[in-house]
């Protein structure tokens, strides 16, 4: 009996240590993340505003969102446009850069640093700099175009151009992170596969298709999820560079939530929109997680 009790006591004690060690993180999560999320969910059923006392209004906010708010659907469309533009560009460029900088060439260290630097730069600083680069007339880009005899457009005041501009600026900011992940994955691929493939006479492209790509699918999957969720949460660069404009052409979900909550003070409705975003991210993550078994060939 005493023999059977000893390991269980030990296990229980170990479990307590475990809880103790994760408690700082868990407490922080519960107080600063979980509680506000639950509170915001409650708010989404009220008409809470800074300007008048709030009352419970049931599902009215969600009804308004689905049936009466054209701006919401327009905003959702803009957000998906942003994601659809950003993800392929970001992943494609990151992979291309990683393949290039994985070669043993002189100067790769410098280039890796240069490409990674924007990741650790403040997004606000980054966006302000690019706002000046894309400024009409006096902007760097239009000055260069003018020197070549081309009159540049008003980049940030053209409804068709503004979203692509924001996408490019966002890609350049974040591409370094994905590149580093890909670089690590590429260096993990055992050399023997390439040696065997070379002996078999496989072309470079064939080696990439049949060895590199399958071997780095876990990383591809990881970056895809991170980039997708990140793209749905885009805010800072929009707030700084365009303020949602011109008109509403760069209104994205988080900007719309911000605008509803902190400019119009419609906190109840803003919370409802925030929960739509929450469930959207959740849904996409679940879908991707389930597709993982089909996409990921190799996982440790």
């Amino acid at each position: 009996m005493s023999k059977a009790a000893a390991p269980s006591k030990l296990r229980r004690r170990n479990a307590w240590y475990g809880y103790l060690f994760i408690s700082p993180m868990m407490l922080g999560f519960l107080i600063f993340l979980a509680a506000p999320i639950v509170y915001a969910f409650g708010l989404s059923f009220t008409d809470y505003s800074l300007l008048h006392p709030s009352s419970f209004i049931g599902g009215d906010n969600y009804v308004r969102l689905v049936s009466g708010d054209k701006q919401f659907w327009h905003t959702l469309g803009n957000t998906l446009y942003f994601s659809a533009g950003l993800i392929p560009l970001n992943l494609g460029l990151a992979l291309a850069l990683a393949l290039l900088l994985n070669q043993k060439l002189p100067g790769t260290g410098v280039f890796r640093t240069v490409i990674f630097t924007p990741v650790v730069t403040s997004i606000v600083v980054w966006a302000i700099v690019w706002k000046y680069v894309f400024a009409t007339d006096a902007g760097l880009l239009n000055q260069i175009l003018a020197a070549l005899g081309i009159e540049g457009p008003a980049w940030l005041y053209d409804t068709a151009l503004v979203m692509p501009v924001v996408i490019v600026v966002s890609v350049l900011k974040k591409v370094g992170m994905n590149m580093v992940i890909f670089l690590a994955a590429l260096q993990d691929v055992p050399k023997m596969y390439y040696e065997a493939a070379t002996i078999d006479g496989a072309s470079r492209w064939r080696q990439f298709r049949s060895i590199t790509l399958p071997m780095i699918t876990p990383s591809l999957f990881l970056t895809l999820i991170i980039t997708l969720i990140g793209s749905l949460k885009v805010f800072s660069q929009i707030a700084v560079m365009t303020d949602g404009g011109p008109g509403t052409s760069t209104y994205v979900l988080v900007y719309y939530i911000y605008q509803l909550a902190y400019k119009v003070f419609d906190f109840g409705y803003a919370s409802a929109v925030a929960f739509v975003l929450f469930f959207l991210v959740l849904l996409l993550t679940v879908v991707q997680w389930n597709l993982r078994t089909r996409w990921v060939h190799h996982e440790q």
């Binding site: 800074l50 300007l51 007339d137 005041y157 011109p246 008109g247 509403t248 902190y262 400019k263 003070f265």
Partner: protein, 437 residues
């Protein structure tokens, strides 16, 4: 945030201990202070917060004034908080709701109804009681926005008419009559301005004839920069009682068409998003407020002067900017904060602030010192003093933020040229009217 609070607490604690120690040693100034507050106990350390949307030169001026204030009130310290003007009202609303607002705030005309209506400003009528303050010296019309039921909720400190800053050197090069000369002849109109601007525009050098948009003002253009133009064309954004949208008229369309054509047709006006400033010498005529004077005075490359706004079918439409100091009701130190406002708006200190802000005190406004704040006494008289009587304060609304959002979106259609002006004002009427009811 947390960190800063802790640090603040630490400093506060240290100063309390220090003053305690000094008072214990029988410091003279300490006992004098406590006598003034009438409690008999050593004066308590008081920290006030003061929020502004001004620039560094304004902040430096206030810091000097605070230093002087501390000579008589060594227990009071004032910390200046700068919030960019574009986010000011929004940020302050949130701070007020969470009861963490500064004790003393700058307020602009458009945000006053919201805060006053929500009962978030303290009644500071007591300020009138001191005969040395000379309350009657404050121009009565400037007090209206901050008065409710006969009580005073703030003191205005800046009531600047807008004006044209022009590059004299560029006008001389082309041999054109300056706006001041045209004004004296009675010919200073929007047509004349457009003509002069066309002559001054030089695309190869990147020089534009006229810029109505104030620095960094593209997103706030409708209210900050274009109200004057709309009034001058005999139109208005809203009806006089503020209950109807009024821009959908031929005069309103003309005003916006003039503006759009200046940008895209005659190209005498910088294009949307352009950030070129008057200081670079590439803008011949720039609309701005008196508060720009500080930056203008630093210009060394060319000569400049100021002139009143040109007139159109509806007169000059000069707008009066408006900013006042108010004390927040939830402040823990309403009495001390009120005293500080009284200090800032005393005749002597308003003379100091008049280097940037057109004073609301008659005695300061009409003083020789104020006339000397501009490029020349004559031009300050013509472009500032003579315009005060005819200038109007922009309308203010309790739900200004909502109206502002819709107006911004509508005005962006001018910049993107996505709709003809007629459709823009029609759509605006549809969007904005429900907010005015």
């Amino acid at each position: 945030m947390n960190n800063r609070m802790n640090k603040g607490l630490g400093i506060g604690l240290a100063t309390v201990l220090l003053t305690g120690a000094l008072a214990g040693c029988g410091s003279d100034s300490g006992s004098k202070e406590s006598g003034a507050s009438g409690s008999g106990a050593p004066a308590k350390e008081i920290k006030l917060k003061f929020s502004i949307w001004g620039n560094d030169t304004h902040k430096a001026m206030y810091e000097t004034m605070i230093e002087n204030y501390r000579k008589d009130h060594p227990n009071v310290s004032v910390e200046i908080m700068t919030i960019p003007s574009a986010d000011y009202q929004q940020k302050l609303s949130v701070l007020m709701a969470s009861k963490t607002a500064p004790d003393i705030v700058w307020l602009m005309e458009r945000s006053i109804p919201q805060f006053l209506g929500a009962g978030q400003l303290a009644d500071i009528s007591g300020i009138k009681d001191d005969p040395n303050y000379k309350f009657e010296d404050l121009i009565p019309s400037t007090l209206e926005l901050l008065t409710k039921d006969g009580k005073t909720y703030g003191i205005p400190f800046s009531t600047p008419p807008n004006m044209i800053y022009y590059n004299k050197t560029l006008f001389a090069e082309k041999g054109l009559k300056t706006p001041t000369e045209l004004y004296e002849e009675g010919n200073w109109t929007y047509d004349e301005m457009a003509k002069a601007a066309a002559a001054l525009t030089d695309k190869s050098k990147g020089v534009y004839g006229v810029n109505l948009i104030r620095p960094n003002g593209w997103t706030t253009s409708w209210t900050e920069s274009l109200q004057t133009l709309v009034w001058a064309f005999g139109a208005d954004y809203f009806s006089a009682d503020g209950k109807q949208f009024a821009l959908n008229t031929p005069a309103g369309i003309d005003a916006l068409q003039f503006y759009s054509d200046a940008m895209f047709k005659s190209e005498i006006h910088p294009k949307p998003g352009d950030q070129t400033t008057f200081e670079t010498g590439k803008i011949a005529m720039q609309q701005d407020l008196f508060s720009y004077m500080g930056k203008a005075k630093a210009i060394a490359d060319f000569e400049w002067d100021i002139a009143p706004m040109p007139s159109g079918a509806g007169g000059q439409g000069t707008t009066l900017g408006y900013a006042g100091y108010a004390v927040t009701k939830d402040s823990e130190h309403v009495a001390e904060a009120t005293d500080f406002v009284k200090y800032l708006t005393s005749p002597e200190n308003m003379a100091v602030t008049s280097q940037f802000f057109v004073p609301s005190r008659k005695s300061v406004l009409e003083s020789q010192d104020f006339l000397n704040q501009g490029p020349s006494p004559e031009s300050v008289k013509t472009a500032v003093l003579d315009q005060m009587a005819g200038a109007r304060v922009r309308p203010a609304f309790q739900n200004f933020q909502q109206i502002d959002e819709k107006m911004k979106i509508g005005f962006d259609s001018i910049y993107t040229k996505s709709k003809p002006i007629e459709d823009i004002v029609k759509d605006l009427e549809k969007e904005v009217s429900p907010l005015l009811k």
